[in-house]
């Protein structure tokens, strides 16, 4: 009933708030003695807001926001799986949440990171990990900087990198941030990498290597993956694995065995740490033995005196983030792996792929499936054949009307009007069938009631918003 645009700041009062301030138990000195008045601020344009209003306001906002606890969240490449509640309890254990990064008495934390590292080494086939990176893109930057340092150390001028056209935007931008220029590799009709193309590129001598995700963003496992990594290695290059799509590979097959040298993981995807509406994440980076010394400091080793930090190495690219990384997220991922164990992890991989293929075969009856083959964690539909000028965006918005969330749209860029669908392993068959039913209804609506789609959504707190206006006249705060 109340406008959806009452900001919290409009709920302030002139009554000054004291609920969250401890009583001052020290005699106050004259403030001017402590800090010159010219250093002090004059006004403070934040109101005092009563506790009750805050609770009600954000309770209401949270209900206006779709989450994985609401239902299927089929965003392709995002791996929106169920987030176990126990992990929220564990990460809030005081001896995890209340410890200082610089304190002694951190053996529990170091042991956890060390053990997690050992488990990830087994899961991925790498030889060493750093946990500093705060998210996937941050891990990419770390990984590519390792490449850079590696070639610098070898005194080789390799400032180009191969990235397929199906890659996530962070891949080229991370590479760019590490000073590389990008050579885009065009995928072939099967959605895979043409070997000749990369062989040719590597022959030029200035290419450091390749960034790949496998299965890629089409959900396709590149059958020639060993050939690809062999070619790169043949020319002295390095292979970077974007681990955002590792979920279907858990317990099935390892990037290390595919021939990758550097990988990042997205704990907030594959290892079920809640994405938090945009973060925090954690993007640990793993490398092969030869590159372990390049990892950022500190890394943790077990000694007889307990867990300690590795000495500085000359190779290390240096620090990529303050302290130890997003420890609170790391704890959740550790708990998740311990909970699942070997069998559980394999089941994740299997069922993630089962669910994706189940949707694929059911949805391709109505929607165009450009790459019609067994997929892994996800697959991509296109808007080809959809009539009445209806766009992928229209379809996505209409899905919201049915109380579900839409797939990733218009990505990957190589599929026109792409709808990228990743159900993950934590959806039931009933949930998948319901998604198919909704998609089929919408398909029928494209023919019978196109206006409905063009104006969708209707059942959301607001109707379709004007993105162009937002960019033309940015209003970024009140």
């Amino acid at each position: 009933m109340t406008s959806n645009l009452t900001l919290i700041f409009n709920k302030g009062t002139k009554r000054s708030q004291h609920n969250f301030i401890p009583e001052m138990d020290i005699d106050r000195a004259d403030l001017a003695e402590i800090i010159p008045s010219s250093f002090q601020r004059e006004d403070f344009p934040l109101p005092d807001i009563p506790e009750v209003e805050i609770v009600r306001h954000y309770t209401e906002l949270s209900r206006k926001n779709y989450g994985i606890d609401s239902g299927i969240y089929p965003l392709g490449s995002c791996t929106m799986k169920y987030n176990p509640k126990i992990n929220e309890v564990i990460t809030r254990l005081p001896a995890f949440s209340q410890i200082h990064p610089l304190q002694e008495g951190n053996q529990g934390a170091l042991e956890l990171i060390h053990q997690l590292s050992e488990m990830l080494i087994e899961i991925t086939g790498m030889d060493g990990f750093t946990f500093q990176p705060a998210a996937g893109a941050h891990g990419e930057l770390t990984g590519i900087l390792i490449m850079k340092k590696y070639f610098e150390n070898k005194n080789l001028k390799k400032n180009k990198i191969l990235i397929p056209d199906s890659a996530h935007g962070t891949n080229p931008s991370s590479a760019k941030m590490a000073g590389f220029s990008i050579i885009e590799v065009r995928s072939n009709n099967a959605g895979e990498i043409p070997l000749d193309h990369i062989e040719f590129a590597m022959q030029q001598g200035d290419v450091a290597g390749i960034m790949l995700t496998n299965p890629n963003t089409l959900g396709i496992f590149d059958r020639q993956i060993k050939d690809i990594t062999n070619i790169i290695h043949k020319y002295g290059g390095l292979c970077y694995y974007d681990g955002a799509n590792l979920n279907p590979m858990l317990g099935i097959c390892r990037p290390g065995d595919m021939g990758f040298d550097i990988i990042h993981l997205n704990f907030h995807k594959t290892f079920s740490t809640p994405h938090g509406g945009g973060g925090p994440g954690s993007g640990p980076v793993g490398v092969i033995k030869e590159l372990v010394s390049y990892l950022p400091e500190p890394s943790i080793i077990a000694t007889e005196q307990g867990f300690v930090c590795r000495e500085k190495t000359n190779n290390s690219i240096g620090r990529i983030k303050c302290f130890w990384g997003n420890f609170g997220v790391i704890v959740r991922a550790y708990a998740y792996i311990l909970a699942l164990g070997a069998e559980g992890l394999k089941r994740v991989g299997q069922i993630a792929v089962l669910n994706a293929n189940y949707l694929r075969v059911l949805l391709k009856e109505k929607y165009h499936l450009p790459y019609d083959r067994i997929c892994q964690h996800e697959f991509v539909l296109s808007d080809r054949g959809i009539e009445n000028n209806i766009t992928t965006e229209d379809i996505a918005k209409r899905i919201l009307d049915y109380g579900l969330y839409a797939p990733t749209i218009y990505f990957p860029l190589i599929v026109k009007g792409a709808m990228m669908i990743e159900p993950t392993e934590t959806e039931s068959k009933i949930s998948l069938d319901n998604f198919v039913e909704v998609m089929n209804k919408i398909y029928n609506e494209t023919k019978t009631n196109p206006e409905l789609l063009k104006n969708a959504p209707f059942n959301t707190p607001v109707k379709r918003l004007d993105a162009a206006l937002a960019a033309r006249k940015p209003i970024l705060h009140d």
């Binding site: 004291h18 949270s62 001896a95 990064p101 610089l102 496992f221 918005k397």
Partner: protein
């Protein structure tokens, strides 16, 4: 345990629908020699066993009753509302709000966060967060080079040493040159080739700069040079003049103090704000207010995405994708829970309590306060016997201050003491007592 829903029959049914005979067949594209036998990972644990295991592990960490350690990570009281709100699963189990209409709750909250940050800092615009304070500073450094098209930076001494290392790593990546200078030589180093001066205030050693004056001096010498300020504990803004009032171009901070638990140093929150004119060079997400296409109502949406990697790819202003949204939400709840009155009072208490400790320590034989400038909640103390002080603190169950030689090996016998509102009078007296006992000339034995 696991979180799989299908029973065997369901799996069989689904395989039939797909037209394959087994789960294994779904992996037909994978070369056989790549298929794993079995991971060498322990058997999975049930929830009770898991919790027990993690409790045992956590108990190998030590919790103290009160802390005098800061250095980039601070103990402040976190209002109950913070955990209440970030535990609402509509927030924490959501993805980045790509579908605006089904994500209005989060979008509005982050718009409110942007609003709270601009009001607190008096900067023109704030983004939806970056990873943490250290990467925020690195992003600011890069943004300055993009905005000025220059590849040289000057860092003023006193920036958190780990932040400096991170900036160094990022700069090396992009062939940006940087130099760390002392305050007295700063102006002489400035010329037209410098993209920006980066400084921290209150700085790592606790000193508070006269920011307006500093900015003015830089402007006088190098008018086109950007000025970037970083802070590790922005609660001081409850009292201190905001960067927007000192003509700062880019302001970044670690937001952990705003309602985020220490958690061994992460996750934190990279606060990032700038002048309007640099808006399109900013890294990270921005939430904007807009209208319904066919309606009257306003709503919120991700905007100016053409700066970002998923649209602009290698030409993006930054590679950041996942940020620290939930931490931004936590800090918003912190800021609105305390409100104006609370934020001012918290800052005052930090000033007053640390001042009290400073004065008390100064009277103990052998201790000397090294700061010449005003300080907020941290300050440098030269001690008669550092190890003894640390030992005494531990005996009192106090988390001891930082031995500064960890970062600056030349600075011997010096600790960086942090005193916040979370230290009660009793804690403080214990600390002073510990310092007395660790004094060579301590009064009366033990």
């Amino acid at each position: 345990m696991d979180f799989i829903l299908h029973d065997k029959e369901t799996i069989a049914e689904m395989l039939t629908s797909i037209g394959v005979n087994s789960l294994e067949e779904l992996f037909q594209d994978i070369p056989a020699d790549l298929l794993l036998e079995k991971l060498n990972i322990p058997h999975g644990l049930s929830e009770p066993d898991l919790l027990r295991r993690l409790e045992e592990l956590s108990n190998k960490n030590k919790i103290y009753s009160s802390s005098f350690l800061g250095a980039g990570c601070y103990y402040h009281y976190i209002p109950s509302l913070v955990d209440f709100v970030i535990s609402l699963s509509g927030f924490y189990t959501a993805y980045t709000p790509y579908q605006a209409e089904a994500s209005q709750g989060y979008l509005q909250a982050i718009y409110e966060y942007q609003t709270a940050i601009t009001r607190l800092t008096q900067m023109d615009v704030a983004n939806a967060s970056v990873y943490d304070g250290s990467t925020a500073l690195a992003e600011a450094a890069i943004m300055a080079t993009i905005a000025t098209q220059k590849k040289k930076l000057i860092l003023l001494e006193g920036i958190h040493p780990e932040y400096v290392e991170v900036v160094k790593t990022y700069c090396w990546g992009q062939d940006i040159h940087f130099e760390i200078v002392m305050e007295d030589t700063l102006i002489s180093k400035l010329d037209d080739s410098v993209a920006a001066v980066l400084f921290q205030s209150p700085n790592f050693f606790g000193d508070i700069e006269n920011v307006s004056e500093l900015v003015q001096k830089i402007r006088d010498k190098a008018p086109k040079c950007l000025v970037v300020q970083v802070m590790t504990d922005p609660t001081c803004l409850g009292v201190l003049k905001p960067p927007g009032k000192s003509d700062i171009d880019i302001f970044v901070a670690e937001g952990q103090s705003f309602g985020i638990s220490p958690s061994f140093g992460g996750p934190g929150l990279g606060i990032f704000a700038s002048k309007q004119k640099y808006l399109r060079k900013m890294p990270g997400r921005l939430i904007g207010k807009t209208n319904e296409i066919d309606g009257e109502r306003e709503g919120f949406i991700l905007t100016l995405q053409t700066r970002e990697q998923h649209i602009r790819r290698e030409k993006a202003t930054s590679n950041i994708c996942t940020n620290q949204a939930l931490c931004a939400l936590a800090s918003l709840i912190y800021l609105v829970s305390l409100g104006k009155t609370g934020l001012q009072e918290i800052a005052l208490q930090n000033f007053q309590k640390s001042h009290y400790v400073k004065q008390k320590l100064a009277t103990i034989p052998g201790y000397q306060i090294l700061n010449k400038k005003p300080t907020y909640n941290e300050f440098l103390v030269k001690c008669p016997n550092v190890n003894k002080l640390i030992e005494q603190c531990k005996q009192e169950n106090l988390l001891p201050p930082l031995i500064i030689s960890k970062y600056f090996p030349d600075m011997k016998d010096i600790v960086l003491v942090c005193v916040t509102e979370s230290n009660s009078r009793e804690d403080i007296e214990k600390f002073i007592h510990a310092a007395q006992k660790a004094s060579n000339k301590n009064i009366g034995g033990n």
